[in-house]
Symmetry: C2
Subunit: 397 residues, 2 copies
């Protein structure tokens, strides 16, 4: 057969999906698997959105504009302005999920061999989009002891080379749940302006903040008109992961003209789901109050349970719905597989995401796992109990 | 501001969209514009599909598998088998439109600097996806005098170099409406096996064939298990362009493993629209009979009208819903713009797609336009009448 591309060899396989066959095998044996591994919320999509589905009247399911429906972009701009992100529709291009927003953004700013600095641990798919363009991810280590706060800005600045094109981070962060402070965002702005690099802020978890913490967007900062880019998505916000509606948001007109060319190449984002995303903007505030307080309950339940595990280290999250924990095991990859292949407690086990895939150097995350708290409180309690027993059993082997 | 990527400069702007501002300006002046320029059919989406929308019950609009819903892939495999394309679900990865199918396929097979041979004129967005990976499009000229048949296979073979990775064509073809004969497909197969290159067949117009012509798929050919790739989409088939549901279809397991990695990076294709695409597979055969006979009427109406234009050359289409015509004008780009900016007949004008954007060398298509017959017969009659008057007026300037 013809040889495939080098890229086809280099594209990373999903680090989490490697375990799926073992989970499937466990289920076949009749074992119940609690999924702490995935970012698919169990929270219902807002009812106004699912109701909207019944009201859509169409004769022809036609292409939309490549940048998305005008009306949706207008309403989306309003949403941002309510969040003190002062943009209008022309600063927004609707994409097929946050993934495509990253694909278009990285392609617009970085040449092969260029570098993007990303605090690690980071969302594994950032690797995929960088790899696609042969762009180098330069990690800067954040630590579980600091709850994965921004590393000292000096550590970051040391990594900047003539090939550095951007700093990319998620806020609230996947996989750590860290929420960047206003001071950290200001430092990032100053760094961007000093070195003339882009700041790409993945803000898809914007609403998921617990306690007194506040969300600070990169576009809250003055002076970021040319350097600031938000990558966004409705997936988590409205529990609409399957809609595949995202956006690139920036005041940089040249950048947006480039993103539009990428968007035109794929013609149009999904039409129906843009209508649903538009409706989602009408979701009552009470929906979020309830969802956030539910996640907060889960967060606290999870932490309370995990703290009972001897020798565990926890990165205490302030946002999103993930938590990173360092387990007292030799190898979290082995442990996660063992949980599915060999362990069960009364016919039940848990699936966690080994963190090695969230680090440029897998060794750095060797003992860490990401836990998504997307299960209800009772299931979470039971999951942590299983995890605790599993750690004990594993270490007695 | 930070410098954008070289790619951002090279990504081609849509050749057709350049004219959109002029069309908008004409409309603002109250002029009616008949759109012969776009591939958005006016044909209604099948009623079973739009009805299905009302029946979808969901609590959480969740991610689907990266390769698409299993049930959809199973039913899609059945559809292919009915079309004598013998595949099963594991040979199919659902993509976000045919565009993404191309993105994943080219990324899987070609390195920067590699070459893909494409008969020209070709679908302009092929350039975009090749450009994204810095892959070179090597055109092989097909001629209006031959109705854009496959050029002699020797001409094609001469272009093969050690960097050639694939031959890519659309069948039925956009923008020419040409339908490849079984003999031509066989020659392509022999060429692929002899030189160990992929054949990528964009078969999104599979059903749109007029008269006695038959569609021959690349996967009808024996021996193409490792070398044949179909790029497909529901957009035109069911008039669901806005659904953004496509597919890569191939028996090559290594290729499909690579495509899956690209698919995992973007998590999931749109969920709801996969449900609609699945329902679309239940569309009664009568829908197609009616649609095809409607397009056939339009095709004949269009040709009859165009033949009245002195000095015109027509590439007679056998499929899809496009036709390429060479007009007796100095420059089709100028002419198309003039139609919108300066001409009207009783307050009406037409918009056509200049063909320069469909050729690697724009000069080759300097006098040609693509006409999409996606208007009803009466509008088409009137459009051609306007076009005839316009050509006369333009040449008297």
């Amino acid at each position: 057969m013809p040889v495939l591309s080098e890229l086809s060899g280099k594209m990373p396989a999903s680090p989490i999906r490697k375990l799926v066959p073992f989970a499937d095998a466990a289920k076949k044996k009749g074992i119940k698997v609690y999924h702490l591994n995935i970012g698919q919320p169990d929270i219902p999509t807002p009812k106004n959105v699912t109701d909207k589905l019944k009201e859509i009247e169409l004769d022809v399911l036609a292409y939309t504009k490549s940048q998305g429906y005008d009306r949706y972009r207008e309403k989306l701009a309003e949403y941002y302005r309510k969040n003190h992100i002062i943009v209008d529709a022309s600063d927004i291009i609707v994409t097929t999920g946050g993934s495509e927003a990253l694909l278009f953004t990285i392609g617009s700013i970085a040449n092969p061999g260029d570098e993007i600095i990303i605090p690690e641990p980071y969302y594994a798919n950032y690797n995929s989009f960088a790899t696609l363009y042969n762009v180098k991810v330069v990690p800067v280590r954040s630590k579980i002891e600091d709850n994965f706060a921004l590393p000292p800005i000096e550590a970051l600045e040391e990594l900047i080379t003539p090939r550095t094109k951007a700093f990319l981070y998620s806020n609230p962060a996947n996989p750590t749940g860290y929420v960047y402070t206003e001071e950290e965002i200001r430092k990032l702005r100053d760094l961007a302006l000093k070195h003339d690099i882009f700041i790409i802020a993945d803000e898809v978890y914007r609403e998921f903040i617990y306690g007194d913490t506040k969300h600070h967007s990169i576009l809250h900062q003055p002076g970021m008109e040319e350097h600031g880019i938000i990558v966004d998505s409705v997936s988590k916000r409205y529990s609409m992961c399957g809609a595949r509606i995202g956006a690139v948001v920036s005041k940089n007109k040249k950048l947006m003209a480039s993103v539009l060319k990428f968007a035109q190449a794929r013609l149009s984002p999904p039409a129906l789901e843009q209508l649903l995303a538009e409706e989602a903007l009408n979701t009552p505030a009470t929906y979020f109050t309830e969802v956030i307080s539910e996640y907060n309950r889960r967060r606290n339940t999870l932490i309370e349970g995990l703290e009972k595990i001897d020798g565990i280290k926890i990165g205490y999250p302030k946002g999103a719905f993930y938590l990173m924990a360092e387990l007292p095991v030799d190898d979290a990859d082995k442990f996660a597989r063992w949980l599915l292949e060999e362990f069960n407690d009364n016919g039940e086990t848990v699936m966690v995401a080994p963190a090695s895939g969230f680090y440029a150097d897998p060794e750095a995350g060797r003992k860490q796992v990401r836990i998504a708290y997307v299960l209800n409180v009772n299931d979470l309690k039971r999951s942590v109990e299983i995890l605790q027993k599993a750690v004990e059993t594993y270490n007695k082997k």
